[in-house]
């Protein structure tokens, strides 16, 4: 098997995913185009050498429809011979795109690829593509579908995480993210996004709220209590989890991932192709794995997917220096730490989506880049990147510096 190396990665800053977000005026294709331009230009890349561009996107309809990957490739004026494909593994789409791009290299079918993702949640709201999973009555009832927030609350209930516990986790995420920005640790990979006149619209993540305390967070209303109780979702969850007397709704907008706009790209290839283009490998992709878990609670995939990829790589959790698990909800990360016995000091060391936001299709590629930067800063070696995934899945990737 050929080794797949990471040469570079860039991402956009994450704009608030609302009408007042700084990236709201930027179309998804324009956002992804600027990211593709940046990774090309800063590496002096001859794009005709690319074998494929794989992009994750979770709501591939409207402005994000019609294969956004190929659309952006054309719009970024890449060489005509560069194809593009869009894929969807819900929240892990960005990481899955990197894995797929790497897999093409590892299998010897490609020499140089880009993986990444895009999601403009302010313009194409979550759920815009609807889907049979939750809206076809036969399917939704067969799998006891409930929205992911109910699953996060169910995890907290089963594990005994209190509102204080999850808020404390969220406050720490805010603190770490703010510190990382202050120290300039994100600067290397974040490219400013500009308007057509060349003015910078945004060059920093704008969702985070530095200085947030547990007391501030305690003021927020549980986000899923009303749908849980009035739309019947709690009842559905209890049909699958009858050991629970009632679901404790602890998640709020403050301890769940933020809704944001963003895009990311990761340049991947064989050692030889990099050498030919004057690129220096920064890390090797050791392995990756995805797994299916119970779709109702939905968010318990990270631990089993991590265990699966560790096993494939002949490693244990002790061999991993840094963990990066998408902060979809606080309870998801807390459950993972408990299951794999990972101390908080080794996971999400620069915060995560609670503070920074979760542009669904792009996040996986973003956090892979973030943890690679952090490995280099600390001069550490291995990292495991992981996301919980809609429909009850988990996707995990292990990288290792070279």
């Amino acid at each position: 098997m050929t080794d797949a190396y990471i040469f570079d990665h860039v991402r956009s800053p994450r704009g608030r995913g609302r009408a007042n977000g700084s990236l709201h005026e930027v179309t998804p294709v324009a956002l992804l185009t600027q990211v593709l331009e940046a990774i090309r230009d800063r590496n002096g890349l001859d794009t005709s050498r690319l074998d494929d561009v794989v992009m994750g996107c979770v709501s591939p309809v409207g402005e994000q429809g019609a294969c956004i990957a190929r659309t952006a490739v054309l719009n970024a004026n890449y060489a005509e011979n560069v194809p593009g494909k869009q894929l969807n593994r819900f929240c892990a789409s960005g990481l899955e795109a990197v894995n797929t791009a790497a897999a093409q290299v590892m299998s010897g079918q490609s020499d140089l690829t880009i993986g990444g993702g895009v999601e403009c949640m302010s313009r194409v709201p979550m759920g815009s593509d609807s889907g049979a999973m939750h809206a076809d009555p036969a399917v939704a009832t067969r799998i006891y579908f409930v929205p992911q927030g109910i699953g996060a609350d169910l995890i907290a209930t089963l594990e005994g995480f209190t509102r204080d516990d999850v808020d404390a986790y969220a406050a720490e995420s805010q603190k770490r993210a703010a510190n990382a920005w202050e120290q300039g640790w994100f600067a290397r990979s974040v490219v400013p996004i500009r308007d057509q006149l060349g003015s910078t619209l945004l060059d920093r993540d704008e969702h985070l709220r530095p200085g947030t305390t547990v007391q501030d967070l305690a003021e927020l209303k549980p986000a899923f209590e009303v749908p849980g109780q009035q739309a019947g979702f709690d009842a559905v969850a209890l049909q699958k989890y009858p050991q629970v007397e009632s679901i404790r709704h602890v998640h709020t907008a403050g301890n769940s991932s933020g809704i944001v706009d963003g895009a990311a790209a990761v340049l991947i290839g064989t050692r030889e192709s990099g050498k030919a283009l004057g690129l220096t490998p920064r890390a090797r992709i050791r392995g990756f794995a995805s797994i299916g878990t119970d779709p109702t609670i939905m968010l318990t995939g990270p631990a089993p997917s991590a265990e699966k990829v560790l096993k494939r790589c002949g490693m244990t959790a002790q061999d991993i220096d840094l963990f990066e698990l998408n902060e979809a909800f606080a309870s998801v990360v807390m459950l993972f730490m408990r299951r794999l016995d990972v101390p908080h000091e080794r996971i999400n060391v620069n915060g995560g989506a609670i503070a920074l936001g979760h542009p669904l299709g792009a996040t996986g590629a973003m956090i892979l880049g973030t943890v690679l930067d952090e490995l280099e800063r600390r001069d550490a070696n291995t990292a495991l990147v992981n996301l919980c995934v809609g429909g009850g899945m988990g996707t995990a990737t292990i990288i290792e510096r070279v």
Binding site: S130, A231, G232, Q243
Partner: protein
């Protein structure tokens, strides 16, 4: 034509009058379907015709299918292709009508339900007469079916997906004005003018094409998953549906799927899709169970199928009630409401008045809600006389005692009442626990002594259990049944036994739940699984509601009465501890298995975890479910074996309407038939080995399983034998 009178007037409008002979209401018979198809051809072929009006020759317009025929078909050899073929015939007859090329208006001159309303929906225009008794709706879901003559497709195309879904999944009946508002009918006219209004539409405004057959038609409000509103309807609808059905009832989901998939199809394909879903429902035992128990057998019970032929019907004019506690007060209310003079007697006038207060409160609520006039309410109250004097009972045809469950007290009031009432009056006890035969010992005329067991709260619970003691005569049975029919409740008739039928079997449910707790099973699991199995309340919650104190007293009384024959249950020790050690006596006392915090939802008592620590290994939910349902079914079989029950219908009706055994099962015995007797016996044997004697299979059941018999099959054979 056998079912439709076809008359053409001078104005060129055909008047089609439906009159299905030998049926009290018009139903969708094969003859009717053939006639509708023939009518469609005739209308299309006659160039001089301007159009047609369909109406009914009976006081109601039309009901749905012939349900008895559907239930009977379960005993016949039939396959999916056959049933589907029948469903298509139904669809195609109506489709031919709406595409015959002539405008057709329905003149709805009375109730049109199920298939009856679907005939109207296949017309191009609907006029309904403003009759307060008229009801329109698609109630199929309440008997485990879905509309099968086009409503799942025509209704959403007419009024939008969300409103159509609500109508069909709730099975609600609409009054004429509500139907107009909902958009199901086009015009509301004074009663009797339906045909004229319909004829006027045909002549002046008639359109022979349905909206969904017109070019560019769109479902109102949108259909398909590219419509955000439709998405929301189906996402939330699927969750609420599961909350309602707990995955036990297939029909609501079939309705939702038929609408979800069908509303993006052209109408012909959509109707075919409905037929496929309808076929599946017709093949499902849930439909058989629900139609048989909730409709046919309940209907027969309401018509007093168990009543002896003689004596002739004697309505109660004057009713005596001894004891104005909760039960007595409730009995007084329902009886006065039904028009009887009621004498409510207690040891003190204040107590009797307190009992009457219950009626005052309920009547006031009805007046406040506009359901009753103040004068009518006063008339009901005036019919309830309170007293302490037994002499006032003179002239009562029936006296019901509802005093404290104590033999001595009951014997005392029996004697005093019998001294005051006429020689032909019947005396009934509303005991829920004491055998009637033993109470009758206090009576000077035990053949006129009977048990009439009400459920609490009396005004809400639909069932009444009549208990026949060893000496009870037919006159007493007839009188009890006549009375129950007067108050509009459903009777079952059982023979005497401790706990009779309902209390006896229901007791096994709460005891099994408490036994599970004693074994260290997670109490949330016990309660949730019970509810998911379809029981209205979990076994621990219901014990709280009945009160642990009462369970404690009944247990001690039973043990005293039975002596060595008493079989202790693991639940006994739990109940004893809760009363004696924890002083947690039930909901009424503010604490039991649950805590009842003021202004907040009840929750399981945290102390349970300490006193009944969770076993390391927890049973699968399915095992808990089986134990809770099987234990009730097996005790019912014992009641059949001992002759406490004489008819499977009484067992099923009593279980569903008495204590809420899940309707999808059809009742405790239909449940066994649904599982299959052989499979049920196998599982019960396994449960008996694992958990004890209470799951032991009664001999009769084992024999029936071996011979391939069923309860209803044997009942039918017995009836055929006695008829021959």
């Amino acid at each position: 034509m056998k079912t439709i009178d076809y008359t053409v007037g001078g104005d060129g409008v055909a008047i089609l009058t439906i009159d299905v002979k030998d049926k009290p209401m018009n139903v969708l018979t094969p003859d009717f379907l053939a006639d509708i198809a023939a009518v469609a051809d005739r209308l299309g072929a006659d160039a001089k015709l301007k159009g047609a009006v369909i109406t009914s020759g009976k006081s109601s317009f039309m009901a749905g299918a012939d349900l008895k025929q559907i239930v009977d078909s379960f005993d016949e050899e039939r396959d999916v292709a056959q049933v589907y073929g029948w469903c298509r015939t139904l669809q195609q007859a109506l489709r031919r009508l709406e595409t015959c090329g002539k405008p057709i208006a329905a003149a709805i001159n009375g109730t049109a339900l199920g298939g009856g309303l679907e005939v109207c929906l296949a017309c191009h225009y609907r006029v309904v007469g403003d009759n307060p008794k008229t009801r329109l709706g698609q109630p199929e879901v309440s008997i485990g079916l879905i509309p099968g003559a086009g409503a799942t497709q025509r209704l959403p195309r007419l009024i939008g997906i969300e409103r159509a879904l609500r109508l069909m999944t709730e099975g609600r009946h609409l009054r004429p004005a509500e139907a107009l508002e909902a958009g199901i009918v086009d015009q509301l006219v004074p009663e009797g003018q339906e045909v004229e209004a319909a004829r006027a539409w045909v002549l002046e405004r008639g359109v022979a094409v349905q909206p969904w057959d017109q070019k560019g038609f769109k479902v109102p409000g949108g259909a398909g998953l590219m419509h955000p509103a439709a998405v929301q309807t189906f996402v939330v609808g699927s969750a609420l549906l599961q909350k309602m059905t707990n995955h036990n009832y297939p029909a609501p989901l079939a309705i939702m799927s038929a609408v979800y998939e069908g509303t993006v199809l052209p109408i012909d394909k959509a109707l075919d899709l409905e037929s496929k879903y309808f076929t599946r429902m017709l093949m499902s035992t849930v439909a058989r169970n629900m139609i048989r128990t909730l409709f046919l057998n309940k209907g027969a019970a309401d018509k007093l199928v168990r009543r002896p032929k003689s004596p002739a019907r004697r309505p109660v004019q004057k009713l005596g009630i001894l004891g104005a506690g909760m039960m007595g007060a409730g009995i007084a209310y329902v009886s006065a409401q039904a028009g009887m003079q009621v004498v409510l007697l207690d040891t003190g006038l204040d107590k009797a008045e307190h009992g009457k207060d219950y009626s005052r409160k309920l009547l006031q609520e009805r007046v406040d809600k506009g359901r009753m006039g103040a004068d009518d309410a006063r008339a009901v109250l005036d019919r309830i006389a309170t007293t302490t004097d037994y002499a006032e009972l003179a002239g009562c045809e029936l006296v019901i005692e509802a005093v404290f469950e104590d033999r001595g007290i009951k014997a005392g009031v029996t004697g005093k009442a019998e001294a005051a009432i006429g020689a032909d009056a019947i005396f009934a006890s509303n005991t829920s626990t004491l055998p009637i035969t033993s109470l009758a010992q206090a009576s000077a005329r035990p053949e006129q002594f009977i048990g009439i067991h009400f459920f609490s709260p009396v005004d809400k619970m639909p069932l009444v259990e009549v208990i026949v003691g060893e000496q009870t005569g037919e006159v007493a049975i007839a009188q009890a049944l006549d009375y129950i029919q007067q108050i509009g409740k459903t009777p079952i008739v059982v023979n005497d036994s401790r706990g009779f039928y309902t209390s006896r079997v229901f007791g096994t449910y709460s005891r099994e739940g408490i036994t599970l707790l004693a074994e260290g099973v997670n109490p949330a699991l016990i309660e949730n699984v019970a509810k998911h199995a379809g029981m209205p309340v979990g076994p621990l919650a219901v014990t709280d509601e009945v009160s642990l104190e009462l369970s404690y007293h009944v247990m001690r009384q039973t043990r005293k009465d039975l002596g060595d024959a008493y079989r202790p249950s693991a639940a006994d020790a739990v109940v004893t501890r809760f009363v004696e050690e924890f002083d947690r006596r039930g909901k009424r006392f503010g604490k039991g298995f649950y805590d009842y915090p003021e202004g907040a939802k009840k929750h399981l008592w945290p102390g349970l975890a300490e006193h009944y620590p969770l076993a390391a290994e927890q049973p699968a939910p399915d095992e808990v479910r089986k134990r809770l349902l099987y234990v009730q079914a097996l005790e019912t079989v014992r009641c059949m074996e001992e002759g406490v029950l004489t008819h499977p219908a009484d067992a099923d009706i009593g279980s569903v309407f008495g204590w809420g055994f899940p309707p999808y099962t059809g009742g405790t015995l239909s449940f066994i038939e649904t599982v299959g007797l052989a499979e049920f016996v196998r599982e019960a044997d396994r449960l008996a080995r694992a958990y004890g004697e209470r799951f032991a299979v009664p001999k009769t059941l084992r024999g029936m399983a071996e011979r391939g018999e069923t309860f209803y099959g044997n009942q039918r054979k017995a009836e055929q034998r006695s008829a021959a």
